[in-house]
């Protein structure tokens, strides 16, 4: 199974998100005063620089042909078209990306979850990608809500947000099997030792892509924290253009296509 590296990236990214917010606070003090309007800069440079993860499939990774691919890469293209300019992808990590944005090394960040800590130092566009935990299971199992979990076996990685979320809502007669790490939980599910599993939609999409014959499907959503485009504060013109592009892409179905391509589910209606 190839999911272990993927999962550890997910975990470390969450941790990094918190640390990076503090880093950014320091960076902002320098950047805010000297910078002209970000949209002017983009036009002057003739390109928009977008910070993306390259080690975070299916949002961003490097393909066999060494070209970047993923949800965020398609989203970056979409932004480039909306701003009528070239796109320069800048590879970022959870540690450095907030500092990159504050320091003007990138104009925009993708895959940014909205948290109160971050809202103090950056602005967010409207949500452009779903990120959530969900219950996944085989095609024959009829599970639509918490109540349907009764009598079912569910595998999770112990102590994770997945575990805590499902433990809170599952009925008493649901059997939650806890494993040491996400890999164990996923293996148990794939081996048929648990009827359902709880993972993030990113992990779920990768598992579905690798096991196309199993007919695994998403049953229902738990905790949700959709991805936004992150941009520096006090950039109303750029923010407005990005939101317009996202709104347009939602309306004409472009974003839905990207979601189906990379996450294997339609864009949620409430996004």
């Amino acid at each position: 199974m190839n999911t272990l590296p993927l999962c550890s990236v997910t975990v470390s990214r969450r941790l990094c998100k918190i640390g990076a917010a503090f880093l950014l606070a320091a960076g902002m003090l320098h950047a805010a005063s000297s910078q002209a309007d970000a949209l002017d800069n983009i036009n002057k440079n003739g390109k928009v620089r977008i910070g993306v993860f390259m080690d975070y499939p299916p949002f961003g990774s490097i393909g066999p042909d060494m070209k970047p691919l993923g949800y965020d890469i398609d989203m970056a293209d979409l932004i480039g078209r909306a701003l009528k300019t070239k796109v320069e992808l800048v590879q970022v990590t959870g540690d450095n990306r907030m500092a990159y944005l504050a320091g003007g090394k990138v104009d925009l960040l993708l895959s940014v979850g909205q948290t109160p800590e971050r809202a103090k130092v950056i602005d967010f566009s409207n949500a452009y990608a779903p990120y959530y935990l969900a219950v996944f299971g085989g095609p024959k199992l009829l599970v639509k809500s918490n109540a349907d979990l009764g009598g079912k076996t569910i595998s999770v990685a112990r102590g994770t947000l997945e575990d805590l979320s499902i433990s809170k809502i599952a009925p008493a007669d649901a059997v939650i099997k806890r494993f040491d790490d996400p890999n164990g939980a996923i293996s148990a599910f794939l081996a048929g030792q648990a009827q359902l599993m709880v993972v993030g939609n990113d992990v779920g999409a990768t598992i579905m892509a690798k096991n196309p014959t199993a007919g695994i499907e998403q049953k229902f959503q738990l905790f949700s924290s959709p991805d936004h485009v992150g941009l520096n504060k006090n950039e109303p013109r750029l923010a407005q253009q990005i939101n317009q592009a996202i709104g347009q892409a939602k309306k004409d179905g472009t974003l839905n296509k990207i979601s189906q391509k990379w996450l294997r589910v339609s864009l949620p209606d409430d996004l």
Binding site: S155, R158, R178, F179, D180, A188, A191, G192, Q193
Partner: protein, 222 residues
């Protein structure tokens, strides 16, 4: 050191801990009984059987004794479903423990049989016992009495080794400890408690087996 110990939070989990102890003991007891049957049966077959049987048994013993228990466990739980054999975590645990203990027990009992003086068996045949009777009545009891401490020790090893069963979500004592630790983050407290419980279980189990030995091998202990 500024760590403030807090055991009070563990009280609410008392029922869970008792459940974990029960699972650990139940699996150990069942695996011991089945493992002893395999051990004695396997050693007997090895003694009486032909070349093919001996090779089969020796292969089983070598395979199990030279691979890690956790790998055997994962093979049963994660591997076998791949070829369509689905067994739950409790059955998988019992199977892996039994197969593991059985292999060690065969080797231990075999050593005991070899330690019985050849003359004992020949004398039994000379007074008119059949080979089977001679083995059952003369060789085996002496062999078991000799290796009983080693068998008892192996049972303890299996019980302590059962801690890895938590890896396949068997709700044994270690699983309970890991669960509690993931909820209240009081690692030191819970693992101290669990360590003491394992220690007490080991001491009690050894005492119990010593008492059993006095009954089983009365007058034979050397």
């Amino acid at each position: 050191m500024n760590y403030v110990f807090d055991f009070s939070d563990l009280q609410q989990y008392a029922g869970m801990i008792v459940h974990g102890i029960a699972i650990t003991l139940a699996l150990t007891a069942a695996a011991t009984l089945l493992g002893a049957v395999i051990g004695i049966g396997g050693a007997a077959l090895q003694w009486t059987g032909g070349r093919t049987i001996r090779i089969v048994i020796a292969s089983y013993v070598e395979l199990i004794r030279n691979t890690p228990f956790i790998v055997q466990l994962f093979f049963v739980f994660f591997g076998l479903p791949g070829i369509g054999i689905h067994i739950g975590e409790m059955q998988a645990a019992l199977l892996a423990m039994t197969v593991n203990l059985g292999a060690y027990a065969i080797e231990i009992v075999r050593a005991g049989i070899e330690a019985v003086a050849r003359g004992q068996y020949q004398a039994a045949l000379a007074i008119g016992l059949t080979p089977r009777q001679a083995f059952r009545a003369i060789v085996l009891p002496q062999a078991l009495a000799t290796v009983y401490p080693a068998l008892a020790c192996q049972v303890l090893i299996v019980m302590l080794g059962s801690a890895v069963l938590s890896q396949i979500s068997v709700t044994d004592l270690t699983y309970v400890a890991n669960y509690i630790q993931s909820r209240n983050f009081r690692s030191f407290e819970i693992y101290v408690v669990i360590t003491v419980i394992y220690l007490l279980l080991s001491i009690l189990l050894r005492r119990l087996m010593n008492v059993m030995a006095r009954g089983l091998f009365a007058g034979r202990q050397r």
